[in-house]
Symmetry: C2
Subunit: 620 residues, 2 copies
């Protein structure tokens, strides 16, 4: 019944052979990958103006253009770089794989850890900001913010567990709605401006903006690093190449290029509109809303379309994480640096453990931070730019190793990209260190150490278990052991008798071991034992301190130490099984404790002999 | 190391033979048993006055005397009854055993459940009120009330786990301090009153107390039932007869009689003093404090001694529960109505499971009710009087069955006692129903049903396991089985090779079962298998839905159903053991799940073959 419920929720299991059905074609791939990147575009112009306007007033609009051009330049460098990464590393993993292959495993893990943290934060932040959009429409829901955000995460989890293609279908509609309404607004706004020029009301605002300071390198860098939030989400495609339908690399490249042009058009267009319509950063109305207000002449239908699709795309943004996180985690797990279960596909061919892990951690963050995004946002984008830097640096080394045509030019592009993203990373860390970026700086090495520890453990296990050809040939299957079987018993009942019979049928060396704190019971058992008329040896040990497990283990331990290598000791534990699972709690857990303790000895096999109580006896 | 820490905390284990050292002599027994009973005396006069004064003003002091006499009468009836119970039922268990033996098991369990609830409430209430006394002295601790109460419970737990004689030693000092300072105050107060007469300030208070109503049967009953709180704790001795040093019954009887006289003197004396010194109930100053103020002429040294010892005795009160609860629980468990582990003595010969259970439930109550006693107190004393009534009724039946001298007189006493305690129970339930007594009325039958369910389960298990003489003689130990062994393997490594070798040494019918979602791995295994050159059958099953456990169990299940009764199937699960326990979490839990699922089949024995990784491999 539980299984049926899950099947209903998540869908019927899919066989390995249905794998390709669960992959993206170009339109769905773009919808999934675009949501994170494009949603951050919605705020980038505003972030730049927020830095510039208080410092240099009217001059900001000129510099908004310059800085937007710089960011677009970086966008192209990153796109070229990631297209190369997709080509060079079709197995996915993006920055992690590039850094690992070219810079070594530790830089790779740093890039991986940074990206993973960013994915988790994306889910926590966008579910919280999505709920903020809902609660500002329906204030009665404000007290239930945390619950709503967790429910949102739960819905995303279920959709993603159903598999990538289904979640792509669900999420592609709002993404395209947003993209097309933004494109419409930009074209309409530019045409309108070309025909009518600036509106008079805007001129008035202009006059209030006196330049208060001068432009400086530092200010430019600060505005640039703030605007760089437009570029987060760009790396998602490169992490998820294997999620694309064949030809995977080609499809991923097309999506990457389309995504870049979408960002270019929406970011560039909205920066231009912000300048032409003179949007002023304002805590109550977003720059995007001001643009829409200006372009569509007030709170018209299209104004609301823009507002609505923006709110939706912010919620959708976390879905990119649901693609990136499990994929990256599976690549890291396949390399042995994360628990292997992250590399196994679930019933619906999605990396269900990664999806669940992402959801749980994000939900915990939402609960801890009470669905308040202000505390989470500064932790953001450090990770992305750290991984950009490492990926670009990795690509520089990559070009050194190859002999492809034009490698010098490409290396130069990546080198320049590495330099710019490094500076951006440093600026972001500097600006946001005390606001929370220190948490990331602290967590990344901790996670990397965890990865390394896991790898070390897997290596140790693999080395310990490895059986080479010689070992296999000489392992001596078919040789006989001298079997000694010990059956711990408390009394003679159907379960213990069954176990004794089983033991005696394997070997003639069987010891029935009775440890009791009650001498009277011990004597009773001895009398009953006579009736058995068997050659099994009954060993009775009195336990003055009432412990049962410890004396049993001590006795078995002594035998184990005295045994020869060709002797194998098996401890058979009689265990009765009741129909009703809840009944198990009433029976003493001696056999569970015994099992766990006995596995410490390396020449003792622990068997459980089940005795099923007749269900008919249950009725009185 | 953990063991050493516990030894330090709780003391070294004690052997069965040291049992008598852990029992009470008369003085320590009185100290343990008296704390609950005597601490309630501290409030009884106040409870009576609280009912009377608002209704009949000055007349209250006359009726305080009358009602106190009625309660003392009931005290004597209960004492006589409990002395008889101690004599008749030396194995302890008090009301539970008496009701069970004479009225049937269900009334017995009702009495038991009611008492157990009362014990739990006593611990929660007295730890909370003890903390209230501490925080009123040190208000800075008020925010930590709940923590302090839990710490107090933890300390009591440790002391009681150390064993009864040690906790008696610790707790006897404050109990005797309280008893002696109360006796001193009563004698001093009476002598002072005899010499000097009422003080003039008291006369003034007198004139303010106009009679506002008339005395009524109902008012008398209400005051009587409130005052009856003086009698709670009286039953503890009868529950704990086996805890006394030999001769147990005689020592218990002496303690019972001494306790009665202590209650008589302290309750009667403080009622008299309340009358002579005209204490008036007041939310800020307790009646006892007013008496002490009057007797010792203001806030003198002795005033503070009375205050201090009263506070201590209130905390100590819960220690009576720590004696009564585990003892009663062990008696019920020995009868099979509670989990058996409550009947086993711990390292220090105390019923450690009962002590821990009491502490945990009481601590949960403290946390839920935030260490606020107002909500817990009304739940109190319903249980005690319910058990009094059942015990007295049981004794009436008991006298019917015996032919002892004076049985008619004794039966009359118990009958009268049953009648009075029944009325008291009804009055308490009526007065406190909505304040919380309904919780007890609801919980008692639930607990009783739980007890009966447990008994039913134990009976079912015992019936199912019982092997009579015929069964033992004919169980056929020595007959042989056809052994078939199945070894689930994922690859050929040292652990699986070891398991295969072990299996092959028991029988020639061994199947190596490989379930894999990866055809490539399956083929690799087949090639490696050839090298083994063995007659063990390798069965490979492809799992398109990537599940491992389910196909394994299905396959084994099919074999299990097809097997004949003289065939025994053993599934050997290879399991590698790492030095470091935490590493286990990284390995898939297939073998754990398999074990649990396979035990469903009644002809499958599940063995774990341990392979210990060489610890030396751990270092890189």
């Amino acid at each position: 019944m539980v299984n049926k419920f899950f099947d209903l929720l998540i869908g019927r299991p899919l066989a390995n052979e249905q794998s390709s059905r669960e992959k993206y074609n170009v339109p769905f791939g773009l919808a999934i990958m675009a949501s994170d990147a494009i949603s951050s575009v919605a705020y980038a112009s505003q972030e730049i103006l927020l830095v510039l306007v208080p410092a240099i007033g009217l001059l900001s609009y000129k510099w908004l253009g310059n800085i937007s051009l710089m960011i677009i330049g970086l966008l192209f460098i990153l796109t070229v770089s990631y297209v190369q990464i997709i080509k060079a590393y079709p197995q996915g993993g993006g920055a992690y794989v590039v850094a690992k292959e070219n810079l070594g495993i530790k830089p790779g893990l740093v890039a991986g850890a940074a990206l993973l943290l960013d994915y988790i934060l994306t889910v926590a932040v966008s579910s919280s900001s999505g709920v903020a959009a809902i609660t500002s429409a329906f204030p009665v829901l404000v007290p239930h913010k945390v619950l709503l955000a967790v429910v949102l995460i739960a819905i995303l989890t279920i959709l993603n567990l159903r598999g990538v293609s289904e979640s792509a279908k669900v999420f592609s509609v709002p993404t395209y709605l947003f993209i097309f309404s933004m494109i419409f607004m930009i074209i309409f706004g530019l045409v309108k401006y070309a025909i009518y020029g600036p509106s008079s009301s805007m001129q008035m605002i202009h006059q209030n903006l006196k330049p208060m300071g001068e432009i400086s390198i530092f200010l430019i860098l600060k505005a640039f690093s703030s605007g760089c939030s437009a570029l987060t989400g760009l790396e998602a495609v490169s992490n998820s190449v294997p999620n694309f339908k064949e030809p995977g690399q080609k499809n991923a490249t097309i999506v990457m290029v389309l995504l870049t042009f979408a960002i270019l058009f929406i970011f560039g267009g909205s920066s231009l509109l912000a300048r032409f319509y003179n949007a002023v950063p304002n805590p109550n109305v977003t720059v995007l809303a001001q643009i829409a207000y200006g372009v569509f002449s007030g709170k018209t239908f299209m104004f609301y379309v823009i507002q609505f699709t923006t709110a939706i795309i912010l919620i959708m943004a976390c879905n990119t994480s649901y693609t990136g996180f499990p994929m990256l985690m599976s690549v890291i797990a396949r390399d042995g640096y994360a628990p292997r279960s992250f590399a196994t596909k679930g019933k619906r061919l999605s990396f269900s453990n990664g999806i669940l892990f992402l959801s749980i951690i994000a939900a915990i963050l939402v609960v801890i931070f009470k669905a308040d995004t202000d505390l989470l946002i500064p932790l953001y984008s450090v990770g992305v730019f750290l991984s950009f830097t490492l990926a670009q640096t990795g690509m520089v080394i990559h070009w050194n190793k190859t002999n492809e045509k034009g490698k010098n030019f490409r290396r130069a592009i990546n080198g320049f990209g590495a330099f710019i993203t490094l500076i951006t990373t440093c600026v972001i860390v500097y600006e946001k260190f005390l606001l929370g970026a220190w948490v990331i700086i602290l967590l990344v090495p901790i996670i990397v150490l965890g990865f390394l520890h896991i790898k070390k453990h897997y290596n140790y296990v693999a080395r310990g278990l490895r059986a080479d050809e010689d070992y296999v040939k000489n392992c001596g299957i078919g040789q006989s052991y001298n079997h000694l079987i010990i059956v711990p018993i408390a009394s003679l009942n159907k379960a213990t008798l069954g176990a004794l019979k089983y033991a005696r049928s394997i070997t003639s060396d069987v010891i029935a071991l009775n440890v009791s704190p009650n001498k009277e019971y011990m004597d009773k058992l001895k009398i009953k034992w006579e009736e058995l008329n068997t050659d099994i040896l009954l060993v009775s040990k009195y336990s003055p301190y009432r412990a049962i497990v410890t004396p049993l283990i001590e006795y078995i331990g002594v035998i184990s130490h005295a045994s020869s290598p060709d002797e194998k000791i098996t401890v058979v534990l009689p265990q009765f099984i009741t129909k009703d699972k809840s009944g198990q709690i009433l029976h003493n857990h001696t056999s569970f404790l015994l099992r766990e303790s006995l596995l410490r000895y390396d020449n003792i096999v622990v068997s459980t002999f089940p005795f099923h109580l007749n269900p008919g006896d249950d009725e009185e």
